[in-house]
């Protein structure tokens, strides 16, 4: 027997377990959302063909459309503000200062916590009467805010907690990106008289663009699926202000047993994530530099 044929057999055998697991965890389910989106399915009875009626009703459902807008709002603000914060902190903690690694640890400690734990901690901080945040506001003479029960502040409150929870992760990616920029670049620029803010805009940022792109894509995909914070902190309220697409999928599928309808909503989310990724790819590939 030659090496080749034994290698071939081993190759298929070795990838088989991964393929089987991925087939059940990803492959079959992705076909599933398209299939079930075309059916009426209550789990108790087998699915019944329903054509594109689910997709049409989803497209006309004000609750769903509101949740879709909320999801985009959450994702856009979280990712734009969050990646700016993460980048600024990375720039700051890339400086050679005493205790730098302790500072970094403090910033990325929160991302080790679950969203459930993070949500509970911030619910307590946002408590209208005894919470830390309103105590601080009262201290400087500002009227306390009903953070999570006021429709205009509920989503921003969740955004703040999400940025707190996740920035550290992206700070580490930015730090790695910053360390990948060759030192000679800065030395050359300094000879030409560029330093500080100018060297940031003429060297750091352009060379960091691939990393920026990566962070925005990964974070957007994650943010589009926000669920836990809303489930724990607000139950999608007040008045639907923090309801997201995944929240609606959860409600329709597992509370109202409308699995076909929930699948149609999932299809929309999948399409949104896909379009977002492609769009980001298009925009950012123009700005990317290679060195």
């Amino acid at each position: 027997m030659s090496f080749r044929s034994s290698q071939r057999a081993a190759g298929y055998l070795f990838v088989l377990p991964a393929l089987v697991l991925l087939f059940f965890a990803s492959g079959l389910p992705i076909i599933g959302i398209f299939f079930y989106s075309l059916t009426r399915y209550s789990l108790i009875q087998p699915p019944v063909w329903h054509g594109i009626k689910n997709l049409v009703s989803v497209a006309l459902d004000p609750t769903f459309l509101g949740s879709l807008v909320n999801t985009f709002y959450f994702a856009a603000v979280t990712v734009i503000v969050g990646s700016t914060v993460a980048l600024l902190i990375a720039l700051l903690l890339n400086q050679k200062i005493a205790g730098r690694s302790a500072f970094r640890t403090a910033v990325y400690l929160p991302q080790a916590m679950s969203y459930v734990a993070a949500a509970l901690i911030w619910m307590w901080i946002y408590d209208p009467l005894y919470g830390l945040l309103n105590a601080l506001l009262r201290h400087i003479g500002i009227h306390p805010v009903n953070w999570l029960t006021d429709p205009s502040t509920a989503m921003p409150s969740i955004i703040i907690l999400s940025i707190w929870r996740t920035s550290g992760y992206y700070m580490v990616i930015f730090l790695a990106g910053l360390q990948g920029i060759p030192r000679q670049m800065y030395e050359a620029a300094e000879i030409d008289g560029a330093r500080g803010v100018r060297s940031f805009f003429s060297i750091t940022l352009p060379l960091l663009m691939p990393t920026v792109f990566l962070v925005i894509v990964i974070w957007s995909i994650g943010a589009m699926q926000m669920f836990t914070q809303a489930y724990v902190m607000t139950g999608g309220g007040p008045a639907g202000a923090t309801s997201t697409v995944v929240y609606q999928v959860y409600l329709n599928a597992f509370q109202y047993l409308k699995l076909g309808y929930a699948s149609a909503e999932s299809v929309v989310l999948f399409a949104a994530v896909l379009i977002l990724t492609i769009l980001n790819n298009r925009i950012f590939s123009r700005f990317s530099y290679t060195y």
Partner: protein, 287 residues
């Protein structure tokens, strides 16, 4: 080169940033050590005085957190073992073995990155419920609850992932060729070459993947929320939300429970910090 005082200014800003990020964690711990009268005081007291440890035993008595903890450990550890082994095996094959269709299989695996679990939660639930021959189901997948409310059901979404396979493949690609060639000449089987020669060389990648999978499985919420019915199968995250719904504003008790659910991952994180950050950096740079 820099103006004098620059260093001090940077240092102070860095300190402030670190404090802002650290305060919520500290506030959780401080609150968990306060008696109710101190929790609900205006203006808020910063430090618990005297230290009140009672919230911890009280939380443990009000809900079976030990059981939730055990469930979380079982699910997270099994996810790590299965995922690391399966990913190493597949990553090795994709990097070092030659077989027709290898490239196509690799691309198909990478494509699953585009399918986040939250998107497919409905069909995944249906698949588990109708899984043949489990949980009272017949061969046709009907009759019982399948893999719902079970450990295998909880583990499935974390049991394999494109990221892990990709990570392992990249590591195996960096190893020198002659290692396995000489073993092959001596007649070692492919699995032996993998298990006793190649696997020990990718320990750092396995550690990175293990930490990621553990954290993901430990912290996940939506999946256990959807497939778990019985209290004795709750994971910590699920148990914590149910606990919160019951003790809505008993913040001393709630923060003690939150601390107990978070401390294991925080400790793991501090111990494995290097592995963790290197892994994050790796995932950022090499995709």
């Amino acid at each position: 080169m820099r103006r004098p005082g620059w260093h001090t200014a940077v240092w102070i800003v860095a300190l402030l940033v670190a404090i802002i990020f650290f305060v919520p964690v500290v506030w959780m711990l401080l609150t968990s050590l306060k008696a109710t009268s101190q929790v609900f005081s205006l203006p808020p007291r910063l430090l618990p005085k005297p230290l009140h440890w009672g919230n911890y035993p009280a939380a443990l008595e009000s809900a079976p957190f030990a059981r939730y903890f055990l469930n979380s450990v079982i699910v997270s550890v099994s996810s790590v073992l299965v995922n690391v082994f399966v990913s190493a095996l597949a990553g090795y094959a994709l990097a070092r073995l030659e077989f027709p269709g290898r490239q196509g299989i690799f691309i198909a695996i990478l494509a699953t990155i585009m399918v986040p679990p939250q998107v497919t939660i409905v069909p995944l639930f249906v698949i588990l419920r109708h899984f043949p021959l489990f949980g009272g189901n017949g061969w046709n997948g009907n009759g019982g609850l399948g893999l719902l409310d079970s450990y295998p059901g909880l583990v499935l979404p974390y049991a394999a992932g494109a990221f892990g396979i990709f990570l392992m493949r990249q590591f195996f690609l960096t190893l020198p060729r002659d290692l396995e060639d000489s073993a092959r000449v001596e007649g070692a089987s492919e699995f032996r070459i993998f298990a006793s020669i190649m696997l020990p060389l990718v320990r750092p990648a396995m550690a990175t993947l293990a930490v990621f999978v553990f954290q993901g499985a430990w912290n996940d919420f939506l999946w256990p929320l959807v497939i778990i019915k019985h209290n004795y199968m709750y994971t910590l995250q699920l148990g914590l939300t149910i606990f919160q719904q019951e003790y809505t504003t008993n913040w001393g008790l709630l923060m003690a429970a939150t601390a107990m659910a978070s401390i294991p991952v925080l400790v793991l994180f501090l111990l494995a910090q290097r592995t963790f950050t290197e892994g994050i950096a790796l995932s950022g740079l090499k995709t």
